[in-house]
């Protein structure tokens, strides 16, 4: 038996041939998504913001030369038409730094989210479904993960590991951050595994892999998807924070490095001269978080029929 998340909840899998049914469901799902997004302009704004950042991440570095131009006579220049967010300590356009720096931030966020969710979900599902020794072992492992002080560990790791690629950074943040999702997924699994459709699947002699992957997982997909998006924001904060503290490799267009230099080199918290240099990456982080939160709001309604207003 296959239970597919069905936002319309009206079409039975048995009512039509499998291929047609799936196509119809998919079409209806996206129609539902569109309706949910249109219902509140803020949700559309969220999609636009995240799409904009995605474009920045993919195409941003292509818009500028590899070596960003500098104006030696315009250090910490105020905002102007040529430089909407002014210039940095060596006369480089701050907007160009934010745009070209988006790729590292987003790739790290994405890698972290994928690893967090994949590990957390897998461990939570296996522990919750099998219970017994597996549960004990995996949950002790989860407890250890939750007990690890992430930031101090990263500070120590940064002395031996330079994190030159966003994937390395994402891997570490992901490996450190799956504990919470594993706990939540296990709880949901413990609840779902007692339901009738799981009993029926067991009665039919379906293999465990099928029950976990095709019966349990789809029911938790919305929750997992939302956690994945929230994990992106967590990863952005974590890596920008580490760069701000100056423990990660220097990249002049990294948002955390920009914040660090704006505060400690430009005195942005003391004088307004370097304030645009400080505000630009802050606004970028704020917008990205806002976009993700607005999309999560939409997802909540898409996957939860009870929240629908019509």
């Amino acid at each position: 038996m296959t239970v597919i998340v069905n936002p319309e909840g009206a079409i039975s899998p048995e009512a039509a041939p499998a291929g047609t049914t799936r196509a119809t469901l998919r079409r209806n799902f996206w129609r539902g998504v569109w309706r949910v997004l249109r219902r509140k302009p803020s949700r559309m704004a969220g999609v636009v913001i995240v799409a904009l950042f995605a474009v920045m991440g993919v195409a941003g570095p292509l818009l500028y030369p590899a070596q960003l131009p500098r104006d030696d006579n315009a250090l910490y220049a105020p905002p102007s038409l040529a430089h909407p967010f002014g210039t940095d300590f060596e006369g480089t356009d701050v907007l160009a730094l934010v745009v070209t720096g988006a790729r590292y931030v987003l790739l790290t966020g994405l890698a972290t989210a994928v690893i967090t969710v994949a590990l957390g979900t897998l461990i939570g599902l296996v522990a919750g479904f099998h219970r017994g020794r597996w549960d004990t072992l995996l949950m002790r492992l989860t407890d250890m993960n939750l007990a690890i002080p992430g930031l101090p560990l990263l500070l120590v790791l940064s002395t031996v590991w330079k994190f030159e690629s966003p994937l390395e950074m994402g891997l570490v943040l992901g490996v450190l951050g799956w504990g919470g999702i594993a706990r939540a997924v296990r709880s949901q699994t413990l609840s779902l595994r007692e339901r009738g459709f799981i009993e029926a699947a067991r009665g039919l002699g379906l293999p465990t892999r099928h029950i976990i992957g095709r019966e349990l997982l789809p029911g938790m997909a919305p929750y997992i998807a939302m956690n994945m998006l929230i994990a992106v924001t967590g990863a952005v904060y974590a890596q920008v924070g580490l760069f701000f503290l100056g423990v990660l490799p220097f990249e002049s267009n990294n948002w955390g490095v920009m914040l660090n230099l704006a505060v400690f080199n430009g005195g942005a918290l003391t004088t307004p001269a370097a304030l645009p240099y400080l505000l630009a990456p802050l606004i970028a982080i704020l917008l990205l978080t806002l976009g993700i939160v607005l999309i999560v709001d939409a997802m909540d309604e898409i996957f939860n029929p009870r929240l629908r207003e019509e």
């Binding site: 070596q67 500098r70 030696d72 250090l75 910490y76 300590f89 060596e90 500070l155 940064s158 002395t159 330079k162 100056g246 423990v247 990660l248 490799p249 220097f250 002049s252 660090n260 230099l261 505060v263 400690f264 080199n265 430009g266 005195g267 918290l269 003391t270 004088t271 307004p272 001269a273 370097a274």
Partner: protein, 606 residues
């Protein structure tokens, strides 16, 4: 961020002394009030003991911490000092003996007189911590051999056979503590043990050395409970935010001290000091890295003034010559021709530095004093892309697709290492990498998490290029130690100089042991540097000329900027601060007060 502390700590190795005395003024001034400042050398630790041997101890130099004398900021002579606990001193012509006369009226804050025994105990405690003048190895250059109390106010110290021109300077820098408080830290047989350690042989000498160095931790951890100070102030209380000191009624020059109390504020970063200065809370703040915009705001605070003077410190980009292609002098010269030092300084240290006129290993002011007109004959390495190209071609480099490649055709990647906590160095590194990239060199900046890690990795030879402080005068020996000392393979062991292989025992600069110095022939720069320790002044001048030329031609480093000592004062509450370029400028406000400076401002005066 942490640059302030690092600069102060490294620059503090410059010490010096001289025969001569400078009397204090007799002007009585009882102005009162609370003088507010910060201590640039350390942050306040409320739980630290009141102990000058403890690096974070609540003893503040010039206030409740006293040395025998205070070093003047002379560009070339390390033997210029202001009197402190020592009223005067004299050194025999062959530098074998120094006689120190203490202030006749000096008393501790509990009323006990300061005597020669206090100095003797202080020297004994200094032996437990090690140091140039108090090395246990009698063959070490400038080590004291014998300490003799002549009378209650006179002490004689004899130098060992390996005499150093900085012996007097190191001796006068000795911190003096009360024997009746700290004396119990020294075992009854300490001086006998010291003699065995210095002059004994074999196992007995080793055992004695271990006994003395074994006292180090005990001395550092010692907490007297309350402050007994011979300085102008005595600690009243300390909390995590500030230390409060009150006037010492027994201080020998108490008539010079205007404030009734001194408050030393704590800080966690330069930004906090900027905010204190903008708010007008500080009467004085020592050298602090300040961006131009912040400097303008500080200048705008009521009564705020900036005093500038000579600082015997310069910063450089150093090469690891044991790594290719930096073993090739043409590569180093090419990079020198490509770095716009004026632009780097403007970006990194606009208020606290002046672009290096050239690479000589010496701060420009000291270089002019040592070299005279010869300073102008040194190659200046002005920005010149054509010369850089010629040098790179001479090194066998080729340019393909707009990028320079190594002689074997592989990509040339320049990695400039800096500690992340030094934001001015980070900005300078970025500026240099941008300038090199403009010229087709793949350059980038790599940060180390903190300064300790940075120095460790640098010493381990992990970096190709890194930022390095140089020119730490006034002693010419200290200046060239930074270029041709331990970091470049020359080590003093058992009184003998030896050169170790690059990549071993801290030799990360990896320069050659002997170099062609033109008219001076083939020279050993480390050996010449070592000779600066004991040579006569004329000989020192000749050696400095040779070493400056070697530094200029061989470029173990590219000198980037010379630091300017930028002090902040506020005349709203107190006046009579030292003027620009004053010889006392690098000393604390407490020393200024001892010297008769700093008076209470009259109402309306600012």
């Amino acid at each position: 961020m942490k640059r302030l502390a690092a600069i102060v700590a490294l620059a503090s190795i410059v010490t010096a002394t001289a025969c001569g005395t400078t009397g204090t003024t007799d002007t009585a001034q009882q102005g009162g009030g609370v003088y507010t400042t910060i201590d640039g050398s350390k942050q306040i630790n409320a739980s630290a003991p009141i102990n000058p041997f403890n690096p974070v101890g609540s003893v503040f130099s010039g206030y409740n911490g006293m040395a025998l004398a205070w070093p003047k900021n002379d560009p070339t002579d390390p033997n210029q000092f202001y009197p402190a606990i020592a009223r005067s001193w004299s050194m025999s012509p062959d530098r074998s003996e120094v006689v120190i006369h203490l202030q006749p009226d000096a008393r501790w804050s509990d009323g006990t007189p300061v005597t020669s025994e206090d100095v003797r105990v202080s020297i004994g405690l200094a032996y437990t911590q090690g140091g140039t003048a108090y090395a246990l190895d009698p063959k070490a250059a400038g080590a004291a051999a014998d300490i003799q109390v002549v009378d209650s106010k006179t002490i004689r110290v004899t130098q060992g056979a390996n005499r150093s021109s900085t012996f007097l300077a190191n001796l006068l820098s000795t911190v003096v503590v009360p024997a009746h408080v700290f004396g119990k830290l020294l075992p009854a047989d300490f001086w006998q043990t010291l003699k065995v350690a210095q002059h004994g042989q074999g196992e007995a000498a080793e055992k004695a050395k271990n006994q003395i160095t074994g006292l180090a931790e005990k001395v550092i951890a010692f907490n007297p409970g309350h402050d007994v100070s011979a300085g102008p102030f005595v600690l009243e209380r300390v909390n995590p935010g500030a230390a409060l000191l009150k006037r010492n009624p027994y201080f020998y020059a108490r008539q010079n001290i205007a404030p009734a109390k001194v408050k030393i504020l704590n800080y966690t970063g330069n930004e906090q000091i900027w905010n204190y200065l903008i708010a007008g809370r500080l009467d004085n703040a020592p050298f602090t890295s300040v961006p131009t915009a912040v400097m303008n705001r500080i200048r705008g605070a009521q009564g705020s003034k900036v005093v500038k003077g000579y600082s015997p410190v310069a910063v450089s980009l150093a090469f690891n010559q044991s790594h290719k292609p930096y073993d090739n002098v043409h590569v180093r010269r090419a990079m020198a021709y490509l770095i716009d030092r004026a632009q780097v300084t403007r970006i990194a240290s606009p208020e606290g530095g002046t672009p290096a006129a050239t690479t000589s290993g010496i701060h420009a002011k000291a270089a002019r004093a040592w070299l005279g007109d010869a300073f102008d004959t040194l190659e200046q390495y002005r920005v010149n892309a054509a010369k850089a190209d010629a040098e790179l071609k001479a090194a066998g480099m080729t340019k393909r697709g707009g990028r320079w490649t190594l002689p074997d055709g592989s990509p040339w990647k320049v990695r400039i290492h800096v500690p992340a906590s030094f934001s001015d160095w980070v900005a300078a590194g970025k500026s240099i990498s941008s300038q090199l990239s403009d010229h087709g060199i793949d350059a980038s900046v790599v940060t180390a998490a903190d300064y300790t890690l940075y120095l460790g990795e640098l010493a381990d030879g992990k970096y190709d290029l890194g930022f390095w402080l140089i020119g730490l005068g006034p002693s010419p020996y200290n200046i060239f130690q930074r270029l041709f000392g331990q970091a470049n393979g020359w080590q003093m062991f058992g009184g003998r100089l030896r050169h170790v292989a690059p990549g071993t025992e801290g030799n990360w600069m990896g320069g050659p042991e002997k170099v062609d110095a033109g008219a001076a022939g083939t020279v050993d720069p480390g050996e010449l540097t070592s000779r600066l320790n004991y040579a006569s002044h004329d000989e020192q001048q000749r050696i400095v000329g040779v070493l400056a030329k070697v530094a200029n031609e061989q470029l173990p480093v590219v000198q980037l900027w010379d630091y300017v000592n930028t002090q902040f004062v506020n005349t709203s509450r107190y006046t009579a601060f030292p003027p620009d370029d004053d010889e006392s400028l690098r000393l604390s406000s407490g020393v200024w007060m001892q010297l008769g400076m700093i008076r209470k401002a009259e109402k309306g005066q600012a």
